[in-house]
């Protein structure tokens, strides 16, 4: 390309922010972008790898179905929860999944409002990841109750009993927060997909797909009026979704900080949890991005810029989380409260101390390698760190929930916790569900936002101010 191309580093109009890698590789046009992305969905031959992957995750989902059936038939007792550890894998997994979802919303909504171009190629599947993560997360509070068929009592519907739910309970706030989150995310995602559904509808060869895509495209014609309304709706939803990034995990953190248990009752939890959520979420986005761009040849769209940016976000949030750990230890000691001091001491030297120290390594120590530019630019290294961070974030919830509960105020009631096979099968089952849904998503929906990618092409940047959001 000539040096006049907006993407060239020599071009004075180059709107980069001193990145070494471009947001999108040079040499693409509207047509190539659209073709590239939509052909993944529409081409006749699905790669054999997809079938294998889908089949494996489908089997795992069957394991999940069996587990859930057995759970509802027999009761929570098939897990390892006991008194005093009333919550264990069930809530750990719930918080882990919800946390993961936050990255998607941050990328979709916050980065949109902040006009960060680099969000464009990753926001679609990041938002899909959020939705699927929230679906997996939602299974846990629904099924961890002793009588899950009565969960609907947590919703404030007018009823013949004359009772409302108890609104002072953080679990009620969860109901509102998570359902709002799921609704808004779904709407946001769906709205954003409409122009792409239309693209697929127009390009699909087989009749059934034409009809299906046509239905969900909601009659999109691409007219100016449609685009105008679309932009407004999209911005509004982004505005609605933005505070959710902060509020949902804050409310999830209230499940703990409202309790009196030492190790739970801490005011640092809201920001600490939100940072942790973004941390875990970006780790998961990286975990998905890196293989996807390789297998589907999307390196042109998801460039090193994205990888390094996300690595930097991981590092930043990792530092906040590490600060949280240090603060917890500090105020456990500084408070002078015997129960708090004991809790910190037990965390570091007690029965579950090995988990705590692995956690410190995973979440605190390992991301420090991302300070180094060479590491940030090394795809295998970034992938490994993202896996370690995902594990670390799960361990963090284990430490917070199980370790705090197993030894609290009255020593006669102390009791360890050990998971059963069903705890693991439920957890891995939801992982399988998550990946199965992602496989379906990748096969049937455009995993990168086609129309938004078009807007960041040089062709689109004809006039200043005419750039779509």
């Amino acid at each position: 390309m000539s040096s006049e191309s907006p993407n060239s580093a020599h071009n004075p109009n180059f709107e980069s922010h001193h990145f070494t890698a471009p947001v999108i590789e040079a040499g693409h046009t509207y047509a190539t972008v659209t073709d590239r992305i939509s052909s993944i969905v529409l081409k006749r031959r699905t790669p054999i790898g997809w079938y294998i992957g889908f089949f494996i995750t489908f089997l795992v989902v069957q394991m999940l179905m069996m587990t859930v059936t057995y759970l509802v038939m027999k009761g929570i007792g098939i897990w390892g929860n006991n008194i005093p550890v009333g919550w264990a894998f069930d809530i750990i997994n719930f918080v882990w999944w919800i946390g993961i979802g936050h990255a998607g919303t941050l990328i979709s909504a916050i980065l949109l409002l902040l006009r960060q171009e680099w969000r464009t190629s990753i926001n679609r599947f990041a938002e899909a990841m959020t939705l699927f993560a929230v679906a997996c997360a939602g299974m846990f509070p629904a099924l961890h109750t002793g009588r899950p068929w009565l969960d609907y009592w947590l919703f404030p519907y007018p009823n013949a009993m004359g009772i409302w739910p108890q609104f002072r309970s953080p679990l009620m706030w969860d109901v509102f927060a998570v359902s709002t989150y799921a609704t808004v995310s779904a709407l946001f995602w769906f709205i954003g997909l409409i122009p792409d559904f239309a693209t697929l509808r127009d390009r699909a060869k087989s009749k059934p797909f034409k009809i299906i895509y046509g239905l969900v495209a909601m009659g999109w014609r691409g007219s100016a009026r449609h685009w105008h309304r679309f932009e407004n709706a999209y911005l509004l939803l982004a505005g609605l979704a933005t505070p959710l990034v902060l509020s949902v995990h804050t409310i999830v953190s209230f499940d703990f900080s409202i309790g009196i248990v030492p190790g739970w009752h801490a005011t640092i939890f809201p920001p600490y949890f939100v940072a942790g959520a973004i941390y875990a979420g970006f780790a998961m986005v990286l975990f998905l991005t890196i293989p996807l761009r390789k297998w589907y040849g999307l390196e042109d769209f998801i460039t090193m810029k994205h990888i390094t940016f996300m690595a930097k976000v991981m590092l930043a949030t990792g530092l906040i989380v590490f600060y949280g750990y240090i603060m917890e230890s500090f105020f456990g000691w500084y408070s002078g409260n015997g129960f708090e001091r004991f809790m910190i001491h037990d965390r570091q030297t007690g029965n579950y101390a090995f988990i705590y120290w692995i956690l410190i390594f995973c979440n605190g120590v390992s991301p420090q390698v991302l300070w180094f530019k060479r590491v940030r630019h090394s795809i295998p290294m970034v992938f490994i760190v993202s896996v370690i961070v995902s594990i670390g974030m799960w361990l963090e919830r284990f430490v917070i929930i199980v370790q705090s509960l197993h030894k609290d105020f009255v020593p006669s009631s102390w009791g360890n916790y050990a998971p059963t096979a069903w705890d693991f099968s439920m957890f891995f089952g939801t992982i399988g569900l998550f990946f199965m849904l992602l496989f379906l998503f990748v096969r049937f929906l455009p995993m990168i936002s086609i129309f938004e990618m078009r807007t960041i092409l040089p062709e689109a940047k004809i006039k200043e101010g005419a750039k779509a959001a």
């Binding site: 008194i83 002793g146 105020f409 006669s412």
Partner: protein, 1015 residues
């Protein structure tokens, strides 16, 4: 009107109009007005039954009347006529029986032959709860945990239901016929081939029956054997007094107590009364700092709860007990066949003890444990004599047993007869001698030499397996009988229900061997007492049965003095064993006792006092000895499990294998205590295959302690389920301990140890509990100084509130369902010489600022105006946040379906006033809300307020130490208010500002300042 057929005949209409006279005419349509034939046909078609009325131009009003009447009558015409069936209302119901309202009947539970008075609640004709009889001199309203558990035994689905012969069901008459044939033969040789083996019998009626049989058949013999009888006490009393003597004590009058291995606070005849007396001298009721507390010294060769409560305790080996006792006795001038005994290293301790006892002449008690050898009992009697206690705090009387025998000698005699082949017919009345007779006698083989074996038994057990005739035994709750209490008082045992199965009582069985076979128990008992009560029998009988006490049966106390020459009878004192050897002793298991309760789920799951072990028996080992033997244990991962090493114990070529050890701080060094009662093979679905059988090495020469056994670690570990695994208070002020001197100086010290936020230090307006509703505010005060840790309250709560049994695996997962638990915390710094443990019953605190309430998303746990934290089972969805947020961890969750919906007999047993909870709901102590409501309803009906002491929660009712007090804290004169006003009163975890309604009173210790190394 039909639109098609408009048959309007105008001509007809005109004629009609003109033909009518003046006055109004009403019509609704022209068709009607014209009244053409077509119209009439239409009306007939449409309204057949009213066609006539319509036709005759009936007026509207008449029409409506007809319509109305027919409507009213239509209902009746719809009914087919039924012939009348008269139902008869319950007009003449049985006396006092109001359906739904429970009645209470006095009875007694014979335990080791000895009765403790009970009041049993009957709900709609079946017993649902065992309480103590407040008028009975032993129980005075309390019960022990075995009496509580015995209710479940009545409804045990594993009970035998019919008489069987060689496994085939037979009618009772068939048995009677067989016995009649046998008796014919035996009568010719005066019963030489007939033997009876019973457990300890105090029943006057049964003794009379036996006497009758033995008078008729003088060569027949009556043997008694029970593995945990008070045989040594009996033999010891014969040494001391020349005849079998029963001794009772008045602990309430005792300033100083010296126990030589006696676990008088735990079990044994009179233990309920002794605990009550002891506890009354252990606490303050008013604010008087001049506490007249007793002081308890104790030496023992194991670790008992009486030992835990002792102010000064020494742990000794079994072989050291007698020399120690002799050394103490010598200080009172009691010589013992020349040898003085050795004080060992304990000289100063003994000196201080002796000085203290002598300062309490006539106000002290020396008591020896049932398991101690007879010589120690005799020594204790001598010491009481020397201290002038007899007649003041110690009382002697005739033996309680109707036929006092040395039971070891008795069973040996029987086995000899069996082995020599002279026994034709052996009748075993209750008991399980094949399982629990001394191992060296080999009762199993000996018994099979009898030609015919009859067993009266509740279950098909190890003994019944080898018997021909099995007669199911009636439970005491379903049969008539009588028995003596610790002081001789006789209680007539009356049944609360017809026998559930075709069972017989011991009296009915013995009748089969008398002249009048096939008598009912009622007749037998009544006839016997008819012969004893000479005047006004009916009135006396009715009152005795009603009160639960037969008057004038309490034993007169004698002024028997210890024979001065008794010590000359003694054989040489026992040799001191080689130092360093491990000695083994046996104790009954705190849950299974001698094995009879091993099929009882409530007692199996009831945590054993101190160790909190369930569903297993263990061998106690001290920490030092465990280290020496290389034995270890470590906490498991699932919340209630502990992995322990196991040992094999061998003695005289017999071995009991895979015995799980339990490292118990406080257990004397060099002693391993084995617990009897487990390892059964034919106990029932609950009890089979649990634990090890210590009877396998228990011999007749020394049934309670042996030396020279070998102990070897197996290298295998066993998993034990325990409900408490951490016994250290971890610097938290849970149980607060003061010495009496400290209390006198600073009466409020216990309360002030932790900052207790004042009530109004809050942003929020405080609820006014004083002026609302009926003005009650319920609260509870638990005195940890009185509590002896017997766990009767736990079983009582289980019984009252339909609490399910979850089984060993679930207890290992930390999911036991007991609403009330008794925590045990050690004090002190040295694990080889620990203080305590101190016992602390923990029910729901019913906090005014309950942390569980704001976190429940569905309002399943709410607060009543009277201060009760109400648990609404049917609203609970089971998120378990309330349990996580409860700092006292008193909430229990039904993780699985723990209730047994299927077994039919349990449906009879459950308390109908308490919801039976299903899977997925949280439950917890309710302060027995059902009893509170009953009392409020009664009081409202009678137009008065609830009286103090009218509401007794299940736990408070059975506590022999009166440690739990419940009442209205708005009433400043209630007992609970007065207790809460004491300086000893404090809330648990006060700093959290939960404002619990259940508060505790601190432990008061009374150490002797002259003994320094013990705290």
């Amino acid at each position: 009107m039909p639109s098609k057929d408009r048959h309007i005949n105008f001509a007809l209409m005109r004629d009609r109009i003109l033909s009518k006279g003046g006055g109004k005419q009403f019509w609704r349509s022209l068709e009607e007005l014209s009244d053409s034939p077509e119209f009439q046909e239409f009306v007939e078609r449409e309204y057949p039954q009213h066609a006539e009325e319509w036709d005759s131009a009936v007026e509207r009003r008449t029409f409506l009347k007809l319509m109305g009447a027919s409507l009213a009558l239509a209902g009746l015409s719809g009914c087919a006529y039924q012939p009348p069936e008269k139902i008869i209302p319950y007009v003449n119901n049985p006396e006092d029986a109001v359906p739904g309202k429970p009645l209470f009947y006095a009875t007694a539970m014979p335990f080791g032959g000895i009765a403790s008075g009970l009041l049993v609640r009957s709900s709609d004709g079946r017993p649902t709860k065992v309480e103590g009889n407040p008028d009975h001199p032993d129980s005075m309203g309390a019960t022990d945990r075995f009496a509580q558990g015995s209710l479940l035994d009545l409804y045990d689905p594993d009970r035998l239901t019919t008489v069987t012969f060689a496994g085939q069901s037979r009618p009772w008459t068939s048995f009677l016929g067989d016995m009649a044939t046998m008796l014919n033969t035996e009568r010719q040789r005066k019963g030489a081939g007939l033997r009876f083996l019973t457990e300890t019998i105090t029943s006057p009626t049964l003794a009379a029956q036996m006497k009758g049989i033995l008078t008729e058949l003088p060569s027949a013999k009556w043997h008694q054997y029970e593995p945990a009888s008070r045989n040594n006490a009996g033999v010891g009393s014969v040494f001391a007094f020349g005849q079998a003597t029963n001794t009772t004590y008045d602990f309430e009058k005792a300033d100083r107590i010296f126990s030589i291995g006696s676990d008088f606070l735990n079990c044994g005849p009179g233990s309920l009364r002794y605990t009550r007396g002891y506890a009354r001298r252990r606490r303050t009721e008013g604010d008087d700092p001049n506490v007249n507390m007793n002081r308890l010294y104790l030496v023992e060769d194991t670790f008992s709860i009486t030992g835990a409560k002792a102010d000064h305790r020494l742990g000794l080996k079994p072989s050291e007990m007698e020399p120690f006792a002799r050394a103490v006795a010598a200080a009172f001038g009691v010589k013992f066949g020349g040898a003085v005994g050795s004080a060992g290293a304990h000289g100063p301790w003994i000196a201080a003890l002796v000085k203290d006892l002598q300062s309490a002449r006539g106000k002290s008690i020396v008591i020896a444990g049932a398991e101690q050898p007879p010589a120690i009992h005799a020594l204790a009697h001598s010491m009481n004599d020397a201290l002038g206690n007899v007649g003041a705090t110690v009382f002697h009387s005739g033996a309680l047993e109707a036929n006092p025998q040395d039971q070891i000698a008795s069973i040996r005699d029987l086995v000899n007869d069996l082995n020599s082949g002279v026994v034709e017919t052996l009748v075993i009345v209750s008991g399980n001698p094949v399982y629990n007779a001394p191992a060296d006698l080999n009762f199993r083989d000996a018994m099979q030499k009898a030609r015919t074996r009859v067993h009266l038994t509740s279950h098909d057990n190890e003994t019944s397996e080898l018997c021909h005739w099995l007669v199911p035994e009636s439970h005491y709750l379903e049969s008539w009988g009588d028995a003596r209490a610790f002081d001789g008082t006789v209680t007539i045992i009356q049944p609360l229900i017809e026998p559930l199965y075709q069972s017989k009582s011991a009296y009915e069985l013995m009748a089969a061997f008398s002249q009048q076979v096939d008598r009912k128990g009622y007749d037998v008992i009544r006839d016997y007492w008819g012969s004893q009560i000479t005047s006004d029998f009916d009135a006396t009988w009715n009152k005795a049965v009603h009160d639960g006490i037969v008057p004038n049966t309490v034993y007169q106390t004698s002024t028997a003095a210890v024979k001065t020459d008794w010590s000359n009878q003694q054989t040489a004192p026992p040799q001191n064993p080689p130092a360093g050897g491990i000695e083994i002793n046996f104790r009954t298991d705190p849950s299974a006792y001698d094995g009879r309760f091993v099929n009882n789920g409530w007692l199996q799951e009831n945590p054993k006092p101190i160790t909190h072990i369930t569903w297993d028996n263990v061998a106690y080992v001290s920490p030092r000895t465990a280290r020496d033997l290389g034995l270890n244990q470590k906490e498991g991962w699932t919340g209630g499990n502990e992995k322990v090493d196991t040992i094999n114990v061998s003695y005289q070529n017999r071995t009991v294998g895979n015995v799980p050890v339990w490292i118990l701080p406080g257990q004397p060094d060099g002693v391993i205590t084995l617990h009897l009662g487990y390892g059964r093979t034919r106990a029932g679905r609950v009890g089979n295959g649990i634990g090890y059988n210590a009877y396998a090495i228990r011999t007749s020469d020394s049934p309670w302690a042996i030396q020279g056994a070998s102990v070897k670690a197996t290298g295998e570990m066993h998993e034990i389920a325990s409900t408490q695994l951490h016994f250290n208070m971890e610097n938290r002020h849970l149980v607060r301990i003061q010495s009496v001197d400290e209390y006198r100086k600073k009466p409020n010290e216990a309360a002030e140890l932790e900052p207790n936020p004042p009530r109004d230090e809050s942003f929020y307006p405080q609820y006014d509990y004083k002026n609302q509703g009926l003005g009650y505010a319920w609260g509870m005060a638990i005195d940890t100084s009185s509590c002896v840790g017997c766990n009767a309250c736990v079983v009582a709560c289980t019984s009252e509130n339909n609490i399910p049994v979850v089984g060993k695996e679930q207890v290992m997962r930390g999911r036991e369902m007991h609403w009330l638990r008794v925590d045990a915390y050690y004090g002190g710094k040295d694990e080889n010489k620990p203080e305590g443990p101190y016992f602390m019953p923990v029910p729901c605190m019913h906090c005014e600022n309950a942390p569980c309430e704001p976190v429940c998303p569905v309002h399943a746990t709410v607060h009543s105006a009277e201060g009760i934290n109400d648990m609404v089972y049917n609203r609970c969805v089971g998120t378990r946040y309330c349990s996580n947020n409860c700092p006292y961890k008193v909430r229990r969750f039904n993780f699985l379906l723990y209730q047994d919906w299927d077994t039919p007999t349990y449906k009879l047993m459950r308390n109908p006033e308490v919801t039976v909870r299903s899977r997925g709901v949280m439950e917890k102590c309710t302060y027995c809300i059902q009893r509170i409501q009953n009392a409020k309803i009664e009081s409202e009906r009678e137009g008065r307020a609830v009286r103090d002491g009218e509401i007794v929660t299940a736990c408070a009712a059975v506590c022999p130490a009166e440690a739990i007090v419940f009442g209205n804290i708005n009433d400043p004169n209630s007992r609970v208010s007065k207790l809460k006003n004491q300086g000893r009163n404090y809330p648990l975890l006060a700093d959290l500002n939960t404002r619990p309604r259940t508060t505790y009173l601190s432990v008061l210790r009374n150490p002797n300042p002259e003994i320094t190394e013990n705290a």
